[in-house]
Symmetry: D2
């Protein structure tokens, strides 16, 4: 296992989470350089996270001779320039979410990285939460049968930084900020090889005086017949709502990543202090999260990225995944305007083919069995369908 030296581009909230993760616990990798457009921010970030070198020269940060990995944690409109520069420098590049403001921009980044032959990773932390990883493993083991439906919800009262609110810089509103998480979470559960075909989306701006959406809901139709559903909001009250639900033909999974994780605290009086990301109050019932960088997936995400880099393999989340997410978001915005299902346009689909969800109906005496139920007296009731007439009947069997 190699120890990596990282240049961090950006000093915002997400860059802080990244530095906290890499420098947390007993990790062998270190951030060696941090870049910000503003000298003060770079210096403060460097002090806080004990980073030896700070700079306002992005190219210098990228080309630093000790650096072998560059993390792009900049506002969305600055991703493309940065990614191309890293690719040109021949370094591994890890890009925060969303990859681009739209699929075209994302594709240009993907192309640049693939052309340069460097390692690329998509920093989608919420696909790496320990609960999510274990759930994906359970689904792979068949615990849920075929996945039929996934709900991913991310909602809070709105972002902390000014640039997030400017759709010209970000590419949109709550969908670009939060929907990108949900879409990739949904893909992780229905299967990365399950092609997203169409999107139906509704957006609205209900509370904030902005031009982009502060609320959106959408359905994504996958090749298997599975439906993904996302709900994103910048107007939620009560903290940060991060929940996923998966329904399968054989089981169910419910994940709550933030507000109900077995950590409940009441306090009568304000002592200030940070409670949890986007908590709204400092008194009353509060719901902190234990180790946010672990529970929100940052730890497993960076382990996967660096392990994959060491092993010469693709990480779990690639820049192509980031591109697919952008393509789904493009379709969502188109659908919100057209009021119809819109096709997800992909320049290429690399995921193969997923068969339609199917079950072979059981038969009984030439009739199709719809349902079996054990009655209180131990006998069994079958609901049967006559394939000729389409009529349904009850039939009680057994006992003894």
């Amino acid at each position: 296992m190699k120890a990596h030296s990282i240049s961090m581009l950006g000093t915002g909230l997400i860059a802080g989470f990244y530095a906290m993760t890499v420098h947390g616990q007993r990790g062998r990798d270190r951030v060696g350089v941090v870049y910000s457009r503003t000298r003060d921010r770079a210096a403060e970030f460097g002090r806080r996270w004990e980073i030896p070198e700070v700079t306002t020269d992005m190219l210098a940060a990228i080309r630093h001779p000790a650096t072998d990995v560059v993390v792009v944690a900049l506002p969305n409109h600055l991703h493309e320039e940065a990614v191309k520069a890293v690719a040109a420098a021949g370094k591994a590049v890890l890009v925060t979410k969303p990859l681009g403001r739209n699929a075209a921009e994302a594709k240009r980044m993907l192309d640049a990285v693939e052309a340069a032959g460097v390692f690329g990773g998509y920093l989608e932390d919420l696909c790496y939460t320990p609960k999510t990883l274990k759930s994906i493993r359970s689904i792979g083991d068949g615990v849920l049968g075929d996945v039929t439906w996934v709900r991913s919800r991310e909602a809070h009262p709105g972002p902390h930084s000014a640039w997030f609110w400017d759709g010209r810089l970000t590419g949109g509103g709550a969908i670009i900020d939060l929907g990108c998480h949900c879409i990739e979470i949904i893909r992780s559960f229905v299967g990365k090889g399950n092609r997203p075909l169409q999107v139906m989306c509704h957006t609205d701006t209900l509370v904030h005086p902005i031009t982009d959406e502060d609320n959106a809901v959408a359905f994504i139709r996958f090749e298997s017949g599975a439906i993904g559903q996302f709900e994103v909001s910048w107007t939620f009250r009560g903290g940060m709502d991060l929940r996923d639900e998966v329904a399968g033909t054989n089981g169910t999974i419910w994940l709550n990543h933030f507000l109900r994780t077995g950590y409940e605290m009441f306090t009568a009086g304000g002592t200030g202090g940070y409670v949890a990301e986007k908590a709204e109050t400092a008194a009353g019932w509060l719901f902190p999260v234990g180790d946010e960088v672990s529970e929100l997936g940052y730890v497993d995400m960076f382990s996967d990225m660096f392990d994959a880099l060491d092993a010469g393999k693709s990480p779990r989340e690639t820049l192509y995944d980031g591109y697919v997410v952008n393509a789904v978001m493009d379709a969502a915005y188109r659908s919100a305007r057209s009021g119809s299902w819109e096709t997800v346009d992909l320049f290429a689909w690399r995921g193969g083919s997923t068969p339609r969800i199917a079950t072979s109906p059981e038969t009984f005496d030439g009739q199709v069995v719809i349902k079996r139920e054990v009655l209180p007296d131990g006998r069994e009731k079958l609901i049967l369908k006559d394939p000729a007439t389409g009529d349904f009947t009850d039939h009680v069997v057994g006992g003894g």
Copy 2:
């Protein structure tokens, strides 16, 4: 307060819940007659619920001289005939959900009842759960501000009776069975006077060998801009999932009616026994509900119906409400076929008008305030938008 004498039409699961409720606790009203098409079922139901008279003659049950209220708890395709007969007999009529197989059928029932001038009530129990009633009161008190979004979810592994699976008799699949609940729950939270304008719906038949949908998801757009979202499934695993969520500009409500109500039980070994409606297992972790007829709304529903009848007022849930629900379901089925938003067609809207959700943005130094946040050092950060340029900036104030 008058004691009412009821003729119960039907002896299925729902009729049993109704009888259990009316004859439960120390109630003053009684079921005096029960009707079933089958003599044995009528007799068994009568014995079980201590009903003095049983009959296989529907008209006799309706016209019974002691009866002043008739409860229609029959399969959907038999509602119209029964309701018209009750109206003709000049008795009060309470009809189980859904009112009709479609809006046209529902309207004919509504017309018959209104023409006869008799009392009509729509037995939508889930709008009467104590949690729902108290939540509606809180929303009326302004606790949530304007409601922006409601999610209502009802899912279980599929109905118990054969006729439920036959769309020719019911009018559809999971939407007709479960969606009717969700739609009226959503209307209760966004406001009964908030006109449902359009529906976008996706349906599929993923597991059961039937022609109607076993899964559906939909959005309903209301006049205020609020969005209702329903998810119904006959393929859910894990029991019966009954949850509602309401988001408002000032608050949030989460209701869980079944699987997580503060009652958790583990048992290592099967002793049989009824755990809860649609529970799938009799061992492992189980989640019973305390008093199902109270917690699922039956008690408050019948109290409202009989109290309204005594007072000469409309109940909270009227046959017109049942008609609106059918109209929304009709639009959902149309949308599932067209893949587009479909208009909710109503012969008349009796709910008045609801203004668009609106907030007056605060200004600061001629800029629009997007968000205020208290910083750890006690100062306040404002995110501002320049109305001329559309640019966003951070501005820190105060402290001291």
Copy 3:
């Protein structure tokens, strides 16, 4: 079923809950008279609950010719006089909890009622919550095996009325106020026929400037070997904490009656309004209860009382039960002073005998089986104990 006419003695919080229950829904029984020592309070209570007659003459209320049931909802130190007067009047008497300030007082009431031959009921609502009743039924069905341990916890920030704080009037502090509930809940779960033998208790006054305990914890040892554990507090922060846990040899039950019942609400801004009994805040995350009088057991309690009266049977909670609870509390106070286990003194035990919890150990090859576990490879691991040497070994069997 007869309709009863009630005289209510007392107009405090608990009398209000009782009136709300009896006059709630479509009940046939009515409060006909209310008595208070204060005319204004009697008048206000009468108006609020639509009670036709109000009086400040307790004997007049008891002897009112229309009254057949008297509910004693007075402060503790007034129970004895009231109960004796009702017994003397030959009316049915229902007494709120605790029965007396101590076992001697409780015994005098019990004696008076039994000597008069009138119906007596002990109004311990928390033994009648629907969750509790259903759990008791499950335990009776063997779902949990033998009950080994029960925890009952009741905690809140302290009572609403002045007299509650005065141990001279009540008989003690938090134990008398809250422990009486817990003790009878515990008895309901370990079995009413399971004699409470000894109590070990610790009390302290940590927060409030009073002479009686504002916190107490205790263990109760029952004849079967089962342990009851209660925790009561007048210094809890966060609302009212009402939880019970039952462990058995075959299963587990967890009940939450108040703060986590599937009803969760966040509100950013105060609109005032009653949230729930003993809620501490009107903003932030709040946890209301649906129908408090149903979920806290009042509805089922009065149904049981009046049904038992109609049937000429004993109710589920008798005055003898109230006496046993007082005897357990007396032992708790003695133990808190002595620092040792103290015997529960009972003038007579009417519950029969309960055998010691026992399991017949399985044997394997002459060894005692301590535990069986299925290994990941399908084989089974047995932990065995050699009865001769007392040595423990692992033994893996099977597969196939």
Copy 4:
């Protein structure tokens, strides 16, 4: 930060968790040698965790020239010999819980390590869960006021290995296995400087055919007046119950470490597979934990140990803490036999002194204020106590 090379003594469940942690994520420290009494177990453990050297010679493992830290993960009766050997070798020693079978044994280990002047750490993972660490920080910040009561509960159906059941090897039953966790969790919440004075404990053997206790409950009285309460069981059904509750004068904390952490899964059919430590079933509702080694505290524990070693400081959990835990357990066993409170005997108390919990009562017009409540009409009700007579009265103020 230095990279440490570890010799692991032992290959059981806990040694596996330790190796999983140290070798997990991107850690810089490595296990270089593993020792087991059995060659096969050593070899299998080495293969599984990629440990280069395996041995059945404990002294060789300890003295291995590359090793600077030895982890003692052996059965309890083997701790003393191993710890003394490590101390003699002049290496840092980290010992799993409990430190000894009793306080005398623990003290001999403590003395050996302190005499040798080597680094010693007590591997009490549950004091290091992220939830616990953050809670301790909140308590330190005054969020809860003074801690009045802590409940720590650990219960499961019994241990996996034969030796755990043999009190001669372990020092006892469920208290030695589980109570040691609870005691140190309680100390972490009431404050490490808060001296444990006395213990009251009840034990019983209710289910398993063993001589040691399979159930125990206890109270611990601390110098401040705070009460710790632990409940341990080897007969719990439903998985592993790991919960802590803290009550303070200003707030409340509830932690659930295992069965309810926002991860809920239902599966209809067995696919086998590991769900979570001590889960009892592989179907029905299951409650896995995301990243067990993180959420149960192993990650933060080893980070603290190695960071403290690097910094030349004491870790959060020292061998003296382990000794105190043994002393509390000794008192618990004595109390279970005597039926009285027993003193915690400590050869020395290193924690200083903690004042009695105290609040200065507010006064109003010369009366003591017991409670303030805001009435629905905005006025405030004060419950007052007359210091002369001890009488309590209500007093309503304000409004306006």
